[in-house]
């Protein structure tokens, strides 16, 4: 097979090293002891937050401590990257955690150290996790300032705990520690979504997130369990060499030699990844998770935790490569999620929710990247997305913070032009450009890496998926700029939310959002459909009419912390593009990110150059692709195609929401919605494709019915049995009770009788 195109070389490069240096490559050095400080510092921080809460600290001290500790963690993460050994992997054991043995055979020892697996994948993840955590903690110091006191401490305690758990997840040198971190981040996510625990919707959202994640966690747990049963170890350093023979078998096309159990493990792990990374069908929790404070949404539900699924697959990539089904499933789930989430985002009005759906959509892209055998693309997109999505969220948060919880894009306009909001507007613009995939932004490059692979990687319907993803990219550009054009530019108008600081507003953080959303839905079904409610009258007048707010509401512009963080993040998201060009450690891969991936388990594949596509062909049943698109380098083609699509999306948004929104009733968007099919589609998308209702109908209702039935069975049968069990001894007791008549003679007679009976028995037994 003749391949000279650079992209395939990259693909194969990403997939692995030559077979010859396998042995050396899999050797594991001893890592530095200070690596354990990276997770431990946040844990210390969580403990200090607890002390602060007990001592009743009512200043911003907890935030500064958190920023300091996390910053130090970030420095250490950078040091870890600098330390990274020649062969790319090291294990540093903090202490022995679990070591249970029930036999001398291999596989009869469950060993899981509190140890850290340090390779470039770990470094990549830890670098952006700690950096973003530090910045967002700084942002939160201002954002959460209305809650100074116990709530502030609680927030930062959970925040620290989250970073600790995330570090365990990413750095753990075994699947059990990964699972611990996995559960830990889930717990912290639950705690932080439900931060406003007095608010019903927040509690509900927290519960939803927790429950949906449990489904995924079950898959992960089963996967971990099967891994241990089959391989007898949970430690990566032992596990990966064990997978090599299977990869070899796959390379030879001997798929039948790979046990079904090994093929099942990645599928189970994948379910865990789908739950945590909010993929179809488990994505419903993420939009609701926006009930949490915005810094949380930015850090946990956009940048870091939700990428844990991507990390899991990248980390266990060797296992995924030996399964025939795992990666195609990942591809299709990712692609469909990207599309569905993007369409929903088109029709929402709450800007934070739009961002949430866009996160779901972009996560779909990342999964596709992994599935298209471009783990570099997937991981690169994780990094760029982390920066620009954090930027976007924090901008939304700044708006929400300044406008008393207002998030409805119909009620805000021209924010960038208001006094003190310039930095927010610019940051938002940069973030939007990235998300829309505007040429030469970081998002543009990372998305291209994925899109191009779709057309050249052989797989079931991958080309079609590529088209879907292109379409999604266009939709993404549209809804992104819909937000931008509506909220940040245009005439200066606003309507404050109903959350006012200092007047226990934080208890119902954005109650307004729900009110307006429901009102909008009614409006849709009633008369004028559209995402443009009339915005007549002065702000003051409306304020008086609809809300019991003070006469003069002045949006308060973000302070230095928020502005500083936003500026930093915006610059970082621009600079992230440089990672694409900046040469990495390994010169043979494109960019720094490629170099990072190639030295890690995500590329730990031993495969000959020519053989690899053959193995895919083996189950696709098709001839291997030429690795070109229209005879050109697909990446180059894709630069043009996706650039054009991005422009089109932005242009439509401009037409509908900037140029066309001048007249309220006759706005371009409303006119468009008069067209029946678009109207219907809009309504469906607005209702999030009724996925929640579907769950309600397909799962919750039957479960409820089943629970009723079981309750009945429980009541009649189990309770009956229990009652019987309780009743029998009592009945027996009542039967025996007359023997305790209290009369001396009956006692004596019973004793003598008992003696006689026993003697009789003994006599009979001796016969």
């Amino acid at each position: 097979m003749q391949t000279t195109t650079p992209q395939l070389a990259e693909t194969i490069g990403a997939l692995g090293l030559g077979a010859a240096d396998t042995g050396a490559a899999l050797e594991v050095a001893t890592g530095p002891a200070w690596a354990m400080l990276i997770p431990m510092l946040p844990l210390l921080g969580a403990a200090i937050m607890g002390v602060c809460a007990i001592m009743g600290v009512r200043s911003k001290l907890p935030a500064w401590i958190t920023v300091g500790l996390l910053g130090f963690s970030a420095v250490l993460a950078a040091a870890m990257y600098a330390w990274l050994p020649e062969n790319g992997r090291a294990v540093s054991v903090a202490w022995e955690w679990i070591n249970v043995s029930w036999g001398d055979e291999p596989g009869q020892t469950l060993k899981a150290n509190f140890g850290f697996y340090i390779d470039s994948l770990t470094c990549l993840w830890m670098l952006f996790v700690t950096l973003l955590a530090t910045l967002i903690a700084l942002y939160a110091s201002e954002y959460m300032s209305h809650d100074l006191g116990a709530g502030y401490c609680r927030f930062f305690a959970a925040f620290n705990l989250f970073v600790f758990s995330m570090a365990c997840l990413v750095m753990g040198d075994n699947l059990l520690l990964l699972f611990l971190g996995w559960e830990g981040v889930g717990l912290c996510s639950y705690l932080l979504i439900g931060y406003h625990y007095k608010k019903h919707s927040a509690v509900f959202a927290a519960k939803k997130a927790f429950i949906v994640n449990r489904i995924g966690d079950l898959g992960l747990l089963l996967g971990v369990f099967l891994t241990f049963v089959h391989f007898g170890t949970l430690e990566y350093k032992d596990l990966f060499p064990m997978v090599q023979p299977y990869i070899e078998a796959m390379r030879q096309g001997a798929v039948g030699d790979i046990p079904a159990v090994v093929q099942l493990i990645p599928v189970l792990l994948m379910i865990g990844a789908f739950g945590k990374s909010a993929q179809l069908p488990l994505f419903v929790w993420l939009p609701d998770a926006m009930e949490g404070p915005t810094p949380v949404s930015a850090l946990i539900h956009a940048a870091t935790m939700v990428t844990a699924g991507v990390y899991l697959i990248a980390r266990m990539y060797p296992l995924f490569l030996v399964s025939e089904w795992a990666l195609p499933i990942v591809a299709w789930v990712g692609g469909l999620t990207a599309l569905v989430a993007a369409t929903i985002a088109m029709a929402q009005f709450d800007i934070k929710r739009i961002m949430a759906y866009s996160t779901v959509s972009q996560l779909g892209f990342m999964f596709c990247g992994l599935a298209f055998l471009s783990s570099v693309g997937g991981a690169f997109h994780v990094v760029t997305h982390a920066f620009f999505k954090a930027t976007l969220f924090l901008c939304c948060g700044a708006v929400m913070h300044g406008f008393a919880g207002q998030l409805d894009l119909r009620k805000l306009s021209g924010v960038s032009f208001m006094k003190g909001w310039g930095i927010v507007g610019i940051a938002m613009f940069i973030g939007c450009l990235n998300l829309a995939g505007f040429p030469f932004t970081a998002g543009y490059f990372s998305k291209d890496m994925i899109l191009a692979e779709a057309f050249i990687t052989p797989g079931p319907g991958y080309q079609f998926l590529g088209v879907i993803l292109l379409l999604t990219a266009g939709i993404t550009a549209y809804y992104t700029f819909r937000v931008f054009f509506r909220v940040f530019v245009g005439p200066k108008q606003f309507e404050p939310g109903d959350e006012l600081h200092g007047h226990d507003g934080h208890i119902d953080d954005h109650h307004e959002e729900h009110g307006s959303a429901s009102r909008a839905t009614e409006a849709d079904e009633g008369h004028t459909p559209g995402d443009h409610e009339p915005m007549g009258g002065s702000v003051e007048e409306r304020g008086k009419k609809t809300h019991e707010h003070p006469e003069h509401f002045h949006p308060h512009a973000p302070g230095w912390a928020i502005n500083g963080v936003l500026a930093t993040l915006a610059i970082l998201s621009v600079l992230a593009a440089a990672l694409y060009f900046f040469p990495g450690a390994d010169k043979s891969h494109k960019g720094w990110a490629g170099g990072m991936i190639s030295g890690s388990s995500a590329a730990l594949v031993v495969g000959g150059e020519a053989d690899h596509p053959t193995r895919l062909a083996a189950f696709v049943g098709a001839e291997p692709e030429q690795g070109t698109l229209f005879g050109q380098d697909p990446h180059k083609i894709m630069y043009y195609v996706s650039g054009v699509i991005g422009f089109v999306g932005i242009a439509i948004a401009f037409a509908l929401h900037y140029a066309g929104r001048k007249e309220s009733e006759r706005s371009a968007a409303n006119n468009l919605l008069q067209v029946k099919p678009i109207r219907t589609a809009h309504r469906w998308a607005n209702a999030k494709w009724y996925v929640d209702e579907l769950y309600d109908f397909a799962l919750r209702k039957p479960l409820w019915a089943a629970s009723q039935i079981f309750h009945l069975i429980d009541k009649l049968l189990i309770d009956g049995l229990v009652n019987l069990v309780g009743y029998l001894p009592r009945a027996l007791g009542k039967g025996v009770r007359p023997s305790q008549s209290g009369v001396l003679h009956s006692y004596a007679a019973a004793m003598a009788g008992g003696l006689a009976v026993i003697l009789l028995i003994v006599l009979l037994l001796s016969l």
Partner: protein
């Protein structure tokens, strides 16, 4: 002879203490009479220390039991002494102090109580040293006779007298039965020495089966002694007596005669041996065996009936003391299972397969835990119209006790959970050893029944937990006795139940005590030879008191 005196040193100390206490009790001055309790406690302490250092008695059928059994007696006795504080003649003494009445030694029984108590404990210790049927008989009677008096005079109420009459007459009947059993056992073997009996029975068993007269003697002895341990069919008195007597005396009745009975039973069963093949009455060649079939069936039936009857009747009770009495019957049933399992005679016997050790440990744990529950009852009282305070004995009186009287409430909660056998409380380990020893002896059916009964027991023990802990208190807080040492006894037992997380030292001591019990099986001869010397025993930790 002098070696025997060394063995009996604790008993001698107790006897001397008893005499001193009796004399002190007749002193006209209240201050001097009040010394009775400290003196009794001191005597027990000395006896306990001496007991720990007692050497093994190779001439005994239970050669190693003495240090453990006597130290246990002294230790639990110390707790009981604390609990027994406060006398029935409190109002009389008060009247004397006020000068309303003249002091009359006949009317005071403050010290008599402690004297009788010490006599009873002396009897218990003698039981442990018994090498002979005559000795055993005298010791058992010495245990029982003082308790008859104590039950009767523990309060001035008619219910105590009723308890006394039932206890005494039925006790005399029981004593007559085991005495007749002893006589027949002597007749069937030609000796009253337990080791002699063991050899004679082994010879008979090897040559065609145990002599019917001896067998009848064994059965009668066991049934007669069942009265002491409150086992079916001799259990009827238990609830009435425990309810009628004052709570401290009931606590004592639940421990002292029961322990004496179990040690006596162990001695007799050790003479019979656990080495008989399940089918017939011949020596089992492989060293795995059980009791002779008729004895096995008798004891198994008694064990099952005892625990079941005790538990089902306890479910129905409203009186705390009656409930505890029936639970005490149930605990007897549990211990009988381990007694049937016997000391493991299999070659790889471990700590978890020694039934006798399990019984000895269980006795201690049960004694301590039970004192805690009875102490709560003993501490709560209600002023009566006649000026004499009466104990609160209704379950309802425990309602919300953790709030109204936190100390007593928590003592009740902890001790009830301990009796239930909740891990990691002391009671759990005791029950755990019962289970493991019975399982290793292959008594699966008995273990299952034991488990079921433990589940039934949870129903009523949880009443003792939930009522003080979870319920709202009703009305005023119940009054408490002025005797702080009762509360102290309760707190001490609760602390022991709670803090002795894994009482390895005590368990080891109990297992040690049961070692070499009635060994005649070839498999065990090696065990005898490598058995612990007297020196080793001296070093053995029996930290009952220091804990």
């Amino acid at each position: 002879m002098s070696s025997l005196l060394v063995l009996l040193a604790p008993e001698i100390v107790l006897f001397i203490t008893t005499c001193i206490v009796m004399i002190v009790g007749l002193w006209p001055k209240l201050e001097v009479r009040s010394l009775a309790m400290p003196i009794a406690g001191m005597g027990l302490l000395i006896a306990g220390v001496l007991a720990i250092n007692t050497p093994a008695n190779p001439e005994s059928i239970l050669p190693n039991i003495i240090p453990y059994a006597k130290a246990m007696t002294a230790g639990v006795g110390l707790l009981l002494v604390l609990l027994l504080a406060g006398t029935v003649d409190r109002s009389y003494e008060a009247a004397v102090e006020r000068g309303e009445l003249r002091f009359n030694p006949i009317h005071t029984n403050r010290a008599e109580f402690f004297a009788f108590f010490l006599f009873s404990l002396t009897g218990l210790m003698l039981c442990a040293s018994a090498t002979d049927l005559i000795w055993l008989f005298l010791a058992l009677e010495l245990v029982s006779l003082p308790t008859y008096v104590m039950a009767t005079i523990s309060t001035r109420k008619l219910r105590s007298q009723e308890a006394g009459v039932k206890y005494f007459f039925l006790g005399a009947l029981g004593a007559a039965i085991f005495l007749y059993g002893f006589a027949l056992l002597y007749g069937g073997t030609g000796t009253t020495n337990l080791i002699g009996i063991r050899d004679a029975l082994a010879e008979q068993a090897a040559s065609g089966g145990i002599n019917p007269i001896a067998m009848a003697g064994i059965i009668l002895s066991l049934i007669g002694i069942s009265f002491k341990i409150a086992a079916v069919p001799m259990h009827f008195y238990t609830a009435d007596v425990y309810q009628g007597a004052a709570a401290p005396v009931s606590a004592m009745l639940a421990f002292v005669p029961k322990t004496a009975g179990f040690i006596a039973m162990m001695g007799i069963l050790a003479a019979v041996g656990w080495q008989y093949a399940p089918g017939g009455e011949t020596l089992a060649a492989d060293g795995v065996g059980t009791l002779p079939r008729s004895i096995y069936v008798t004891l198994a039936a008694i064990a099952v009936l005892t625990m079941t009857v005790g538990n089902v009747l306890a479910l129905l009770q409203r009186s705390i003391k009656r409930l505890l009495a029936y639970s005490s019957i149930a605990h007897t049933g549990y211990m009988l299972v381990a007694l049937i399992a016997g000391p493991s005679i299999a070659a790889e016997a471990g700590i978890t397969s020694n039934g006798l050790g399990a019984v000895l440990f269980y006795l201690l744990v049960y004694g301590v835990t039970n004192i805690g529950t009875f102490a709560v009852v003993a501490c709560l009282e209600r002023p009566q119209p006649d000026g004499e305070a009466d104990e609160l004995d209704d379950l309802e009186d425990l309602r919300g006790l953790c709030r109204t009287r936190p100390v007593l409430g928590w003592v009740m909660v902890i001790c009830a959970l301990g009796l239930l056998g909740l891990p990691p409380l002391l009671g759990f380990w005791a029950k755990f050893l019962l289970f493991t020893s019975a399982i290793s002896a292959g008594e699966i059916a008995l273990v299952v029944i034991l488990g079921l009964n433990s589940a039934i027991a949870a129903f009523y023990y949880l009443k003792l937990v939930t009522l003080p802990l979870l319920e709202e208190p009703e009305g005023d807080a119940p009054a408490t006795t002025p005797f702080a040492s009762r509360t102290f006894a309760g707190v001490l037992s609760a602390a022991l139940v709670l803090l002795a997380i894994i009482p390895t030292g005590i368990v080891d001591a109990a297992m040690e005590a049961a070692d070499r019990a009635g060994t005649i099986v070839p498999a065990n001869i090696e065990a005898i030879e490598r058995s612990i010397t007297a020196e080793a025993l001296r070093d053995e930790p029996t930290p009952i008191i220091d804990r």
